[in-house]
Point group: C2
Chain length 335, copies 2
């Protein structure tokens, strides 16, 4: 029987299995240091589609198909499809849900979506509400830039603290029976708004939310950072990851070599111009479900804490002078 732990964490029991995972990435992500860990890499940002938005949908649906194929599952075996993305009205998820034809929960958590869909999928399975859930997320550099900032064709010069939205998609099969890793605990975050207004510095906006959720996770479960072989945030980038270390140190938690940020792992900054690092729903998506899932399956990592972080503004709220609220959710994966 699952139970509430501390203030806002849940221990899932029986812990659902993350029994399959698949990732699809764009050309730049394929050339990064983790390129070999993605199941499918597109050389074409448009993925032979008429628009970047359609390309993102194709990638999300490919990731879902691959996750099912790996375990010889059919769509009919899936009780629920859970998905979210960055686009207005999460249309990548909505159109993909129409294509997949399974009962659909749409979620919005910006770049925190990976942890959100894994948490909700874990709850549905642990609670006996579902046997198999397909949880997915995606982002695309060009569809996100067009919507949130400037069309890439403008050649707009980006400040160094800006992050680079990852192109790709990730899908996981969460099951009552299957193979490890398992989703053993989740911590659903509060929305934190520290008054940041610079949409080119989302790492700074999101770091306090990551710190809040991470500290609560440790307190609720009476763990310290060394409990985990690896703790990853996704995606704070250089600016946010540094701030997170400072915020945690103030509360007596010191992040050591076992901490990293998905936004700092996915690209090679020496040869790829990505500002402060990667971002977007697909950033923790492909790093966790592509790279880390393989490292867990190979036995290299046994306990991984994933804290994905999202900035919850829109272009309308920015234009109206509002601040940027942020949220982070944590998911513990264990072999």
């Amino acid at each position: 029987m699952s139970k509430k732990a501390g203030q806002q964490s849940l221990l899932l029991d029986p812990a659902p299995f993350l029994s399959s995972a698949a990732t699809v990435a764009g050309p730049m992500e394929g050339k990064g240091p983790l390129g070999g860990d993605f199941d499918l890499v597109y050389g074409d940002l448009r993925a032979s589609q008429k628009s970047f938005e359609a390309a993102e949908r194709k990638m999300l649906q490919e990731a879902c198909s691959l996750a099912l194929e790996k375990r010889s599952f059919n769509l009919a075996d899936i009780d629920y499809f859970l998905s979210g993305d960055l686009l207005n009205q999460i249309t990548v998820s909505g159109y993909s849900a129409a294509a997949l034809g399974r009962p659909y929960f749409g979620l919005y958590g910006a770049c925190s979506t990976l942890a959100l869909v894994l948490s909700w999928g874990g709850i549905l399975v642990a609670g006996g509400f579902a046997c198999n859930v397909l949880a997915a997320t995606s982002s695309h550099h060009c569809s996100a830039e067009r919507q949130f900032r400037y069309p890439t064709e403008y050649g707009f010069r980006r400040p160094t603290q800006a992050q680079w939205t990852v192109t790709g998609a990730a899908a996981a099969l969460i099951s009552a029976a299957g193979e490890s890793p398992r989703i053993t605990a989740v911590t659903i975050g509060k929305v934190i708004d520290m008054g940041e207004k610079d949409s080119f510095n989302l790492g700074a906006a999101m770091a306090p939310a990551a710190a809040s959720t991470m500290i609560l996770h440790f307190q609720d479960l009476q763990r310290n950072p060394r409990y985990y072989d690896l703790i990853v945030t996704g995606d704070l980038g250089q600016v946010g990851a540094k701030l997170l270390r400072q915020l945690l140190a103030r509360s007596g938690y010191f992040l050591e070599q076992n901490y990293n940020d998905c936004g700092l792992m996915i690209y090679n900054p020496a040869v790829q111009q990505v500002g402060a690092g990667g971002s977007g729903c697909a950033c923790p998506g492909v790093v966790v479900l592509g790279h880390l899932w393989r490292r867990m399956k190979s036995g290299e990592l046994k306990k991984v804490l994933v804290i994905s972080t999202g900035a919850l503004h829109s272009t309308t709220t920015l234009a109206q002078g509002d601040t940027i609220p942020a949220v982070a959710h944590a998911v513990a994966l264990e072999m």
Copy 2:
């Protein structure tokens, strides 16, 4: 113990209590036939705020506060805040979550959001993952028109099949212990895309999704429409409600006097110019949690089936020539 029923329904056991509900409405909704059933009616569309978007946030937060006050609950008693709205990046919900300070699940289902948050909240409480959940949704005529169609200041002439977005907000307290009505069953819908492209005729786009979910609900639970004292869709309007009757009749289900649509209930079309009826997340929100909740508490209605429907397009997908996919979720409320 909750269990899956049929293809895609869930029987919640122990059935969570919808132990408090509160609604806030705008000036036009206050003058409609159900105006007396809303807890707070604003005479000013801006609710003394700097923008329509800020007014919508204020309404959502007011509805949440009122729902808690009615049962003498504090925010600290709430395990999770679940919310969704129509605006890009569901910012009304995100900023409200920052103000409320409780762990937050953000959902997007367009005008299906009411059933989505009630379902999700019901699952969390029935599964023992939470004792008290605050589930909310909102919409605002002017923030929605500005985003999806034309700023209202343009004085754009609307076709007769267009619906009128309701201004208001609704919040419900879903609890493990409390007073009836209870959420006894939910049916999570599939996304249905029949190729409709007219964003001024969303009732037509959503009717097939409502029919799909409603038929599955009846089949899964082996019920017929007469099981319920009232079945409400929200919001198909005149065009969609007529289509729904036709689609159901084709499957052998005949909707009689116990069927209505929230979009047809909220305004008085003889004196209010609202095209084919009301729409928006707040339309089923205030009709169900304001009007119907009172009729259930008074003993007039004992079994109510709520099917809220959402169109999942965005202005980008419309501009790119895509169709309008739609979804509907069903929630059974029983005394």
